[in-house]
């Protein structure tokens, strides 16, 4: 320890220390006496302080409540911001900038378009050896008259498998987002009942005109869809378009006749079985063709005569599988949106 100056209390350093500590500075040497008095007084004060502290915590609570209220008021102000002048100017500037930005993008892209090769020219660089192979060897190798079907279901069938999985995963995501649970814990059944009640508000109650016209229209629509799916390798169409047509027919049936009729032949279980079965079949068929060398030269499946309905090897069953997946997904989207379940 350092030596203490006996005159420390009166020294300048002590003064500075007091100044730093925020105590009263005076030149009175008898300060210590005063301090003792002050200490005695402060002990009395302590009791009072305890009372004060209680009131202070009370006040702090009140202040916090006040602050929360003011922030909420600020947000209320924010909500009215779109009507105030400042934000109007801001949205104006934002809109002008957005339009300018898009005009810039369009002009840059138009510049690029003006340098592209001529439209419809047979010597364009994208008409290279790939489409040449697809067209000139396509019938021999795949047996499909429709080159597009031969391409997407034979040469690029793996791509199409991934794409039907995209559909399946999208349907699963919509199911997670919109499905109302059937479980029996307290609240949920009422929610389900409410949703179904909502749905019934908009369901046609035995609309005669709609039902008559639907019963005339639905068979041709679904038969046309099946035709498009089965003739995918012979004529325009295929799994995707035919499946979408069948799905649209099912949606019309549901709208005209209601859930009771359609649940006789199409429920959630049918959806599950058809979709998973079709995807599994697709995956197995394609892995089989990969197992045999991925080039279909020795797959053992007869090609048949090009032009017959039973020809072109695996393309017809794959078309049917894709069509089933697409039809079920389209119908599933619609029912999930409408009542949150199938």
């Amino acid at each position: 320890m350092s030596k203490l100056n006996p005159n420390y209390e009166a020294s300048k350093w002590r003064k500075i220390e007091r100044f730093v500590n925020g105590e009263e500075i005076s030149d009175n040497p008898n300060l210590s006496k005063h301090e003792e008095e002050i200490r005695e007084a402060s002990q009395e004060d302590k009791e009072r302080n305890e009372q004060f502290e209680a009131t202070i915590t009370d006040l702090e609570d009140r202040i916090q409540k006040e602050r929360k209220r003011s922030i909420e008021a600020l947000y209320r102000k924010y909500e009215k911001w779109p009507q105030t002048k400042g934000i109007k100017i801001f949205t104006h500037i934002y809109r002008i900038l957005a339009v300018l930005f898009c005009v810039c993008i369009i002009s840059v892209l138009l510049m690029t378009v003006s340098y592209l090769p001529t439209f419809g020219d047979a010597s364009n660089p994208n008409n290279n050896e790939v489409p040449k192979r697809y067209i000139e060897k396509g019938i021999e190798e795949t047996g499909a008259i429709n080159f597009v079907a031969g391409m997407i279901l034979d040469y690029r069938a793996f791509d199409t498998l991934g794409e039907s999985h995209v559909l399946f995963i999208a349907a699963c995501c919509v199911l997670i987002l919109l499905r109302i649970d059937h479980s029996k814990n307290g609240k949920k059944p009422t929610e389900k009942a409410e949703a179904e009640e909502d749905d019934r508000k908009f369901e046609p109650k035995n609309d005669k005109i709609l039902q008559k016209i639907a019963s005339l229209l639905i068979p041709p629509i679904i038969i046309y869809g099946i035709y498009v799916v089965l003739n995918g390798h012979l004529s325009p169409g295929g799994g995707f378009s035919g499946g979408a047509i069948i799905g649209a027919g099912l949606i019309l049936y549901l709208n005209a006749f209601g859930y009771e009729k359609i649940e006789k032949f199409f429920t959630y279980k049918t959806y599950q079985r058809i979709t998973v079965g079709a995807l599994l079949f697709y995956a197995c068929a394609k892995s089989y063709s990969f197992y045999t060398g991925a080039n279909h030269l020795e797959s053992g499946i007869p090609k048949g005569i090009p032009g017959n309905i039973l020809s072109s090897g695996l393309i017809l069953p794959l078309n049917v599988a894709v069509g089933l997946v697409v039809a079920c997904t389209m119908y599933g989207f619609y029912t999930l949106f409408r009542k949150g379940g199938m």
């Binding site: 439209f119 419809g120 008409n127 080159f147």
Partner: protein, 124 residues
């Protein structure tokens, strides 16, 4: 400037449609309008791709008159790509609409600004 702007009018229209769709996506605060703008962008790109595969005087890529020559048909590759793309765009649209319904159920508004405001309020 290359001189092909007028002969490439299909591509020009596809590019303009892309721009219009993008503007709709940026300008509107309504979620459904935004999704529609997104769909317009989709179709613009499909138009561009399909136009690149077109050959003047070519037939549809289905065997006609027994001819197996490349120059007789249009290019089938863009058709195949766009065919899968159209179906994927439907599933993406359905997913976005499902999210919109969930957001409406929670915040009772379609306006994206109000939605983010309410979300901030919930964090307090």
């Amino acid at each position: 400037m290359g001189g092909n702007l007028l002969t490439n009018f299909y591509e020009a229209v596809a590019v303009i449609l892309f721009g219009i769709g993008f503007t709709t996506l940026l300008l509107h605060r309504n979620m459904i309008k935004k999704i529609l703008g997104f769909n317009i962008m989709d179709t613009a790109i499909y138009l561009f791709l399909a136009v690149k595969g077109y050959i003047t005087g070519g037939m549809a890529p289905i065997l006609t008159n027994g001819v197996e020559e490349q120059a007789y048909y249009i290019n089938p590759v863009p058709s195949g790509l766009v065919l899968t793309g159209i179906v994927v765009s439907v599933s993406v649209t359905a997913l976005m609409l499902a999210l919109t319904i969930r957001l409406y159920r929670r915040y009772h508004t379609l306006d994206i600004d109000k939605m983010s405001m309410l979300a901030k309020k919930e964090d307090l």
